[in-house]
């Protein structure tokens, strides 16, 4: 990406047992303004390879002097979050993409109901200052495990008062999602950021109750998980690209100088979609619909892989 911004790590702060916050400041130019819910893709040049992960901006969008991101150390990290936690020091320089937004609030809503799971609280950190300025009706329901996550819970509770609801599953307090949704007034829009299991639970409860699909919004960046190695064959050139167990298909293509347009690298934005001519697909993205996944002729190479030993891509 040629339009990357060079930033300096101004400070690092441990905000939960497994979560570190990084404050990034511009070196040459000013930082771009951003809207609530925006994210940036951070390039992490580890010794082994360059990782690129998307992180939500959690600072107030009105503050364009710095960006703040929070990185959770993933148990199954391929290296991206380990690099951020173990290698990056104050004063280091990083390359990030300009902000883009796939998770903007629907401002015409009568009420905003935010459901955060663990580090999924981050996009709502940029929603809240703007919602307070606009004096809109909102609630934050924050589910975390205090032994691992729960970043910002004290300051959010203090700042938001009766708009804040915390649930600590390490202390056996849980959120009854069905009960919560059934209490919402007409015109409520629901935003979910957290693990796939939370998104699914909320979507199922909404469907059972009869809430329209158009008021449910979710975002989950899936860091590409490892899988079995396979071969990707490029139809136009016949080139064979080996995809190792640890690399994503997108990374393997890029390493072979095949550039694919991409934005979030986490299975959300849909930019990197490729046509599949042959081979079964292990779909791991949030972008393609169930029907498109079943059709089996498109893949999001940033997170999805071959289900077999070979894929033929029409690119």
């Amino acid at each position: 990406m040629s339009n990357q911004i060079k930033v300096e790590v101004a400070s690092i702060c441990q905000v939960a047992p497994t979560i570190r916050e990084f404050t990034l400041e511009a070196i040459d130019d000013e930082l771009y303004p951003f809207s609530p819910g925006a994210h940036v893709v951070v390039e992490m040049p580890s010794a082994k390879k360059i990782y690129k992960n998307a992180y939500s901006l959690l600072s107030d969008p009105a503050d364009t002097n710095r960006y703040r991101i929070a990185v959770r150390l993933q148990e199954t990290s391929r290296g991206g979050s380990i690099y951020m936690h173990e290698q990056v020091k104050v004063g280091d320089q990083l390359l990030i993409s300009p902000p883009s937004n796939l998770f903007s609030p629907f401002w015409l809503a009568k009420k905003h109901l935010m459901l955060a799971g663990g580090v999924g609280v981050t996009p709502f950190m940029s929603y809240i200052p703007e919602m307070l300025r606009r004096n809109t009706d909102f609630e934050l329901h924050y589910m975390y495990r205090s032994l691992q996550t729960g970043a910002y819970k004290n300051e959010l509770s203090e700042q938001l008062g009766d708009k804040y609801f915390g649930y600590d599953s390490d202390r056996h307090t849980r959120c009854d999602v069905t009960e919560l949704l059934s209490q919402q007034p007409l015109g409520t829009h629901i935003y979910i950021c957290g693990p796939e299991s939370l998104i699914q639970a909320v979507e199922e409860a909404a469907q059972t109750l009869g809430l329209p699909a158009s008021v449910i919004h979710s975002e989950e960046f899936a860091a590409p998980k490892p899988g079995m190695p396979f071969i990707a064959e490029i139809k136009s050139s016949g080139k064979q690209v080996e995809v190792s167990a640890e690399d994503s298909l997108l990374e393997a293509l890029e390493a072979s100088d095949i550039s694919v347009p991409n934005l979030c690298r986490g299975g959300v934005c849909g930019q990197c979609v490729c046509t599949v001519e042959e081979g079964d697909i292990d779909h791991r993205d949030q972008y393609l619909s169930d029907d498109e996944k079943a059709a089996g002729n498109a893949i999001m190479p940033c997170v999805s892989r071959a289900a077999g030993e070979r894929l033929v891509l029409d690119i």
């Binding site: 059934s182 007034p185 007409l186 409520t188 009869g210």
Partner: protein, 175 residues
Amino acid sequence: MEPESVSVVTSKPIYRSEISDAPCAYSLFICEQLSTAFSDLYQSKTVAKRDLVDDGDLESVKDQLVTLLADAPAATLVYLSGTEKYMWLVGEQLKALGVTEDQMVMLPPLNTERSVFCCHCYTVTDHVVTAPATCAGCGKLLAVTDHFAKSHAAYFGYQVNAENATEIPESVELS
């Protein structure tokens, strides 16, 4: 020189007469004039709470909606019956109160009349059943397209014989 093709925007709504039994906590039935079929539909839905608005006057419907939907739950479903114009204009009122389009069930319109929006003088001509149609505002002869504007509850119309006033296409019945 004839243009090779005319750009065709088709956004004419498709209405379905079979009504699925979607779950909800509150349902609201709104009709321009009460028919047996709509009354039967109202009776057949076993919901915890439901209301019926039988009113052809948009202004008074608006007042009733504000009251009825003030404490409505997120899981609300609205059934609409009437002319196409009535249903979509009530739909606009519903949207302002927080109802989304996927919470509205519109039954097939009572007739095939269209409202036509004139792109020259912005007048909406009601009760159009044949095309071309004469604009009630500027008198121009309008082609009636299938390009439907939800907020106006009207179809886009443009002058059909702008270059040659003597050219009058054959009248066709609209569906």
